[in-house]
């Protein structure tokens, strides 16, 4: 197993090298994405200029789901093998995921006002996304509710695994129930029903946010490792 070779020290050094690289990639992609999004893509013939919110909304939505799946996978791993790295990753992921989810909700609402005429509807997708936010916040709270970090990790892992059910509901709710929200038009298995001029900036923005996620994640992981080392030293002196 790869973790046998990588000790925390090496891992830390590795993240230190990768992190600035990811951050600069993110900034470059962001620059291109915004440029293409604002100047090189046409307004929608139905929605007009508001369609440009898509370039933020859709990647954020994708990542809100992806990050939760990362957490869920790490949680399963952590319960099965009790590996510390899994705990560290899921602990570091939770706040980032919460931010992406919040961004999805906010941008979605802003988009919804002109297109649907309302900020909010009790649509299955919107609701399940809201529940996803609540799950994220609960994870953060449980992670920090205990003096003993291990305990917080374990409980958060259990909760995260329970919350997996939410993911397919978010993803396929638009297909299961007839709803207001846009059904899958980009992430369809067959060819996407969207023009290339919109697809390109969308993907560039996706890459940008992806590298942004990676760089913040690595930063948080490093902080977490250092924090844990400090804790070990601090607690080992306590009688």
């Amino acid at each position: 197993m790869i973790f046998k070779f990588a000790n925390p020290l090496k891992f830390q050094r590795f993240t230190k090298q990768i992190q600035p690289f990811a951050l600069s990639l993110s900034i470059i992609f962001l620059f291109f994405g915004l440029f293409f999004g604002f100047f090189r893509s046409p307004p929608d013939y139905l929605q007009g200029e508001t369609v440009r919110i898509m370039y933020i909304h859709v990647p954020c939505a994708w990542f809100s789901l992806m990050i939760y799946s990362v957490i869920a996978m790490c949680s399963i791993f952590s319960i099965a093998f009790k590996h510390t790295l899994a705990d560290i990753i899921s602990r570091s992921c939770a706040p980032i995921g919460a931010c992406f989810t919040l961004a999805t909700l906010v941008t979605g609402s802003i988009w919804g006002k002109p297109t649907w005429g309302t900020w909010w509807v009790w649509d299955a997708r919107l609701t399940s996304e809201l529940i996803l936010l609540i799950f994220y916040i609960s994870l953060i709270i449980i992670n920090n509710a205990y003096e003993n970090k291990e305990k917080g990790d374990r409980y958060a892992a259990i909760l995260a695994i329970i919350g997996i059910i939410n993911l397919p509901i978010i993803k396929w709710s638009v297909d299961w129930w007839s709803t207001l929200h846009q059904p899958a038009s980009i992430s369809k298995l067959s060819s996407p029903s969207i023009d290339n001029s919109m697809l390109v900036p969308l993907f560039i923005m996706t890459f940008s946010l992806f590298f942004f996620f990676i760089s913040v994640l690595l930063l948080r992981i490093r902080g977490e490792i250092i924090q844990r080392k400090i804790d070990v030293i601090k607690f080992s002196h306590v009688r």
Binding site: F3, N7, P8, L9, H83, T84, L85, E147, N148, K149, E150, I225, R228, K229, D231, V232, I233, F235, S236, H237, V238, R239
Partner: protein
């Protein structure tokens, strides 16, 4: 060997509590754990009964690893932890009957009544546990020892809160148990002379760790 603890390591909230701890308890032996507050006596009991899992090491009861016991466990030891697991809104008698059932003993009312006599609880047996004094509660707990038919007793500070008379009675109970071939592991702070007992001193471990030596992921758990 009734109880065998072999090179146990245990971390509690990042603090090392047992560092290669070993213990062997033979038949008819009384062993007293002595240690300052926070040394890890209650933790040790929890590890022995399998409530807490040691980070490393083996615990054997009657030469069988505890992980392999499960349902058989309840015939092997009687553990009286600090928290007394008595239901406030049941009477003494009902509490004991409930305990008898779950601990796998088979006893009739008569035996219960006789055992209640030992600590003079017979008159109180219809009282709710909520309305007992601290020491009376403890006595109800100790009555379980008279009822139990197990070979190994694990007692976490059994003399706490008892009056002088009851302490003597409890001592006698433990000594009799040893005579009949039972073993006892108990923790205690008082200066009591229990016959044929062996004392084990637990020291709180002070081990400062070197930051450069964090080499595996388990180190920073």
């Amino acid at each position: 060997m009734v109880l065998e603890i072999i090179s146990v390591y245990f971390y509690r909230n990042k603090k090392l509590i047992f560092d290669n701890f070993n213990l062997k308890l033979k038949k008819s032996q009384i062993m007293i754990l002595i240690g300052s507050n926070g040394a890890g006596k209650s933790t040790l009991f929890d590890i022995i009964v399998g409530i807490l899992e040691p980070n490393n090491g083996i615990i054997k009861l009657d030469n069988i690893m505890i992980e392999e016991l499960s349902a058989k466990k309840r015939k092997m030891f009687t553990y009286l932890p600090h928290k007394d697991s008595l239901k406030d809104n049941l009477t003494i008698e009902e509490n004991l009957i409930s305990w008898i059932n779950i601990s796998g003993n088979i006893l009739n009312k008569d035996q219960i009544n006789r055992s209640l006599e030992y600590y003079q609880l017979s008159e109180l047996k219809k009282k709710f546990v909520a309305n007992l004094s601290q020491g009376q509660r403890k006595k109800v707990l100790l009555t379980k020892l008279i009822l139990a038919k197990t070979k190994l007793w694990l007692l976490d500070e059994p003399f706490n809160g008892l009056d002088a008379d009851s302490i003597k009675k409890t001592k006698k109970l433990i000594e009799n148990h040893a005579k009949n071939g039972g073993s006892t592991l108990l923790s205690n702070h008082l200066d009591l002379s229990i016959k044929n007992s062996k004392k084990i001193f637990l020291q709180p471990i002070k081990k400062s760790r070197d930051i450069v030596k964090f080499e595996t992921w388990d180190d920073i758990r």
